[in-house]
Amino acid sequence: MIGNDIIDLELAFKIEKSSIPRFLDKVFLAGEQEYIQSSKDPEREIWRLWSMKESAYKAQQRVQRFERRLNPLHFECMLIDDRHGMVFSEENKWKIISDVHQSHIHSFISDPRQHIHMMPKKSRNSKDLLPAIASAIAMKIQEISLEKDGFGIPFIRLLDSNRIIPISLSHHGNFSAFVIPLINS
């Protein structure tokens, strides 16, 4: 399953969230708030946990096909180490990898099947990503189109065969990322 989320930290850090209890209460459970406040870098941890929840949400929406919602408290994070964590939601359990950098955080579902991740800088919208997406699946830009289904879940359409390839997209500030499941056939 795919799901990923990118955070531009320069943008995210503009407003310090760790000192806004109302924000924290709307997004994080008590245990998560404790973890954040006791960490060395609460602001960075806030966005790591947020991107974990968002990745899990995207994967779950893809499986369950529900209308979009804003319910971060339904996704509970558990940290394993600096890079690995889990998100629990209902009966689901998502393994998440978070690459935490100085300028950005990229979280994505860890899946035993191979995936492609890319993170071109300074690409502000899906159109800018098209060349990289095309090259990731060995197609030309004019051979594919990027579309969204009724739930807003993105997919790639191969124009000649009408075949569909799932894709998870994320944009924030100056960063974009996408994940495509590699199909072994």
């Binding site: 924000f23 709307k26 997004v27 947020w50 979009r68 919602r69 804003l70 807003g152 924030h172």
Partner: protein, 82 residues
Amino acid sequence: MSEQEIILRLKKIVEPYVQRLEGLNNFREETDFLRDLEINSANLVDVVLDVEDEFDIMIDNDSMDGMLTVGDAKDIIQNKIG
């Protein structure tokens, strides 16, 4: 407060978070925060907080859950301010 006034004040609130500015030209009840305005979901929580401040109300988590369009937000505000 009239519906029109609520929607006008909502527009002011969301403006700084909008990534797709064309979406603002046709700002109405059906306008979807993510799909039409491409507000990042992280910023949607900020919108909720700003709405709380602007209208002096509390938006509980169930209401936040379903606040996806301008109309959703307007309904929530109307319910809270009575």
